[in-house]
Amino acid sequence: MEATKRARIMIVEDDDDARYALRVRLRASGYDPVTAPNALYAMRLAQRESVDLVVLDLGLPDVDGIGLLRELHGEPSLANVPVVVVTARDAATAAVAAHEAGAFAFLQKPVETQVLKETISRALFFRRVGALRGGVLPPAERPAPLGAGQ
């Protein structure tokens, strides 16, 4: 994990229990998780605190997750923050939409812990070395949209 400061990860997930489980999981993995149950709260949190990465559940009650993804990227403090999208939705269409909206990666629920950890540490690595443009990898380095789901 990070030798100096623990990376702060914002979890945006509407289901209380799923959010709780993910928070416990990420803390155990050495991260500093903060949580938001909806898009509005997520935007406020992002403006108040510095966040290194967002894990975003696409099935949010107040706005479309893809819309929130666009808004998050429009926020100056979050412009280069990678967003890992997690969803139980139909994979193909959601993955394409997420990528077009600038998601760093797209994972289908239920996400295996190992896959989530690898994706997060990869995203944080790219962020640290300054390889992200607007939160995403330049096209040449992007993984295939469906690769990470299984």
Binding site: A18, A88, A144, Q150
Partner: protein, 416 residues
Amino acid sequence: MATTSPIPHRGPSSSPTDLEALAPLLLRTIGTPPAPTVAAGTRTKVLLVEDNSADARLIEIALPRTEFEVVHVTSLAAATRRLELGRVDVVLLDLSLPDGEGAETIAWTLAAAPGTPVVVLTGLANDDVAVQAVRVGVQDYLVKDQVDSELLPRTIRYAIERERLTAELDALRRHQLETKNQLLSHVSHELRTPLNAVYQFVMLLIDEIGGPLTTDQREYLEITRRNVTQLRAMIGDLLDATRLEAGTLAVEPVATDLGMIAAETMQALAAEAQVQGVRLVTDLEPRLTHVRADALRLRQVLTNLLHNAIKFTPSGGEVVVAAARDPEAPDFIRTRVTDTGPGIAAEALPQIFKRFQQGAAGGASRKGLGLGLYICRELVQRQGGRIWVESVLGQGTTFTFTLPAWTAPPEETPIV
């Protein structure tokens, strides 16, 4: 409602058997407006397709003008033109026309007038033709000799009513199917959320994030995990089957590396095979061409077939995944999953791809919804291939499916 009738001009009637009944027709042919008591448009509009003018006249006589408005044409071509102009309530169709004969006439008319009841008129009491006609969707048939002013109107009324009921039933059935699919889709989604939470917390415990576990605790949690995983797979199948039925499952075929998907799938199922004591073997043609498939869906098909094969193969047996160009259709790649399990009885084979069919093979464990092979078949077909099964009791089972070989347009390169 147009009052101009395309009834061709005909000469004086040769043998008017019933002048009184003939009167309305005569009046119409000389252009008298409809009877004032009946508003135009409320009468039943009958398209009479009949080239024999004497027969046509008899039919028109049998239809009271107060209730029926007859539009008479003498050929299929004219009938088609008339149907394009607008709806009629019923088509009375003679089976031998200058431009159509028998079954062909019926098929043509049914296609030209969807949703409009068709009543067939035959010259003789030929039951074969009549039965055939009704089977393909004609509402009724009449033998011309027997047509009278009581039978014909009644037949038409019933035909219209039956057609209406059929359409109503059809709409109702479609609506119910839609409602059922929506319900299933919604329920599946709602079931997933708590199940995911259960899974996540079980995994937190298994990973000892909640503290160290005793051997027993670990075993109990592993059993919980296995059952949750199985339940999750069943809900996934239910959702997929629902989407396949509703046609809303996204299948997007692109250039896909079948060999790689096969290797990944086998790796994913390696642990399962090991527990079962089954050997997994691959037999892929060297330099196998890419296929045109949706990687996710191809993986799903292979996973289902392999999972079944492993499940039904006794310890010490083997499961072989082979892929090669289809010897019978060189534009396709053929993939086979062969096991050394108990085989499937011949009488069970035709049922095997149907929904909710549990494998009739020997063996005790019958878990699952019986949707796996149905999903496989639908997914393979949606990717342009076909799937079949061969099995002999006691000698194992082979599932074979084909997928189109990828022929790359010059500017495109395979992406998966």
